[in-house]
Structure formats: structure tokens, C-alpha cells
Symmetry: C2
Subunit: 135 residues, 2 copies
């Protein structure tokens, strides 16, 4: 069990994640942190993002378009992935309906499950309005 040591790079990554709601990829984080630390490497960014995710200070969201997304908001919430523009959106729904849904799932699936988060797939407002502009 390794003790955690401070690093300016990790602190900068945390600050960046806390400042945005766009759920950046590792590469987007890398490009941003590079402005402050021109020598930072992508490997360091990956190591820190995984570390933060492991200790619960960030969330990793796997999407179908290659490249995980990262979220500095670790308060319980769910996500929506737009299959049109490929953005990840925060859903600040209350957890009541989620519990109902969980219960419904448990009734039909032959065994208990305990769901902690949910990822919705579909189209966002903008892509519903302008189907031609996106794939």
C-alpha cells in the first residue's frame, strides 16, 4: 500500500476536472495540462486519471466512441451519451426513479443486483433538432 505523495501535475489535473463539465478524454486533459506543464507526458496523465478514479476523486466513463471520459464531479449522478454528437451530459435526476427502475429490474432478473450508476444512450436536444449535422 503505497502512500500518496503530492504532485503539482496531479493537482493541476484535479483542478481542471473540477472546472469543466465537458467530460474530457485523457488526451483532452493532456492537451490542457500541457499549457501549464509543457513537459508533462500522456503516460503521467493516464496514471493520474486512473489513480484519481481508483481513490474515488474522479469518475471514468467508457463510451462507444473510443477513449474514456473523465468527470471530476463525484457526487452521485448519472450520465447520458449522445450518439449524435458523442458528448457526455450530466443527468441531475433524483435517485427515486432510479431505485424504482432497479426494483423493476430485480423483479425480472433472476437475482439481486445493486446498481450504483447508469449510462443512458440516445440523442440530445441539438441532435434531435438538426439530424443532418451529425452522423
Amino acid at each position: 500500500m503505497a502512500a500518496l505523495k503530492y504532485s503539482r501535475q496531479r493537482e493541476s489535473i484535479k483542478k481542471y476536472l473540477a472546472s469543466t463539465t465537458e467530460h474530457p478524454t485523457a488526451d483532452m486533459v493532456y492537451l490542457h495540462i500541457k499549457e501549464e506543464f509543457p513537459n508533462i507526458s500522456l503516460g503521467t496523465v493516464y496514471r493520474n486519471l486512473n489513480l484519481l478514479s481508483d481513490i474515488g476523486e474522479a469518475i471514468k466513463i467508457t463510451t462507444p466512441d473510443g477513449g474514456d471520459r473523465f468527470d471530476g464531479n463525484v457526487a452521485p449522478h448519472n450520465h447520458f451519451y449522445c450518439e449524435g454528437c458523442r458528448r457526455v451530459l450530466d443527468l441531475k435526476m433524483d435517485m427515486g426513479p432510479l431505485k424504482e427502475l432497479n426494483a423493476s429490474a430485480q423483479q425480472t432478473f433472476d437475482g439481486l443486483i445493486e446498481s450504483s450508476s447508469v449510462l443512458f444512450f440516445g440523442k440530445c436536444q441539438n441532435c434531435l433538432k438538426h439530424p443532418s449535422e451529425n452522423q
Copy 2:
């Protein structure tokens, strides 16, 4: 717009997907089809899985453990990803609660969304019972 032509390999892949509920990875499909077509290549398996997914005859499910899963059941249903054993399970819940959840999400997110499917994350029955055996 290319016309679709029959191929024995694709037919075999479809048959396999229809016969299983374990949501195999491309590699698992490859290994299975290889028993019937020893010379089939992984590239062909990927091409056919993507093709089937594109024309709506299969579903591709991206999970956080690397390697997409494929499902031959294209009837509307949702999935559960167990973070313990990394299995993908089918959820045969009715769509009522999902619509409620959607509505709840739409009220708090500033814009309409239209969700077609949902992926739950959590622990399955077996992993809840035996936490030590899985990560």
C-alpha cells in the same frame, strides 16, 4: 450503397449470437466461429459484427473492461454490467419505469433528450454474495 450479399461466415456469426445470452466479445465470437471455419480471420469477424450492428441485427455494448460485447437479441431491452465479474446481463424490465426516469432526466437537464437504451453499472447477485472472489 453496397448491396448485401450472403456469406456463410456471417450466417454462422448470426447463428452463434442468436444461440447465446453471454454477450461475447469479438474474440470470443472469433474463437467460436473458428471451429466451423478454421481459416476465418478476426478482421472478418469484426467487419461482420460491425455490419450486423449497423443494420440493426445485433447490438454492440461497450464496457469498461476493454473489448466490446455483442448481443444478437435486438428486441428492446437494457443491460447490466457487473463490475465484479465483468459479465453483461440482460434486464427484461418493462419500459414504464425507464420512461419515468427519462422524464425525470429531461426535467432537470436543460433540454430534451431521447434515450433508447440504458446500461446499469453495479454488482450482480453472485458478486454481492462472494466479494472476495472477484476484484
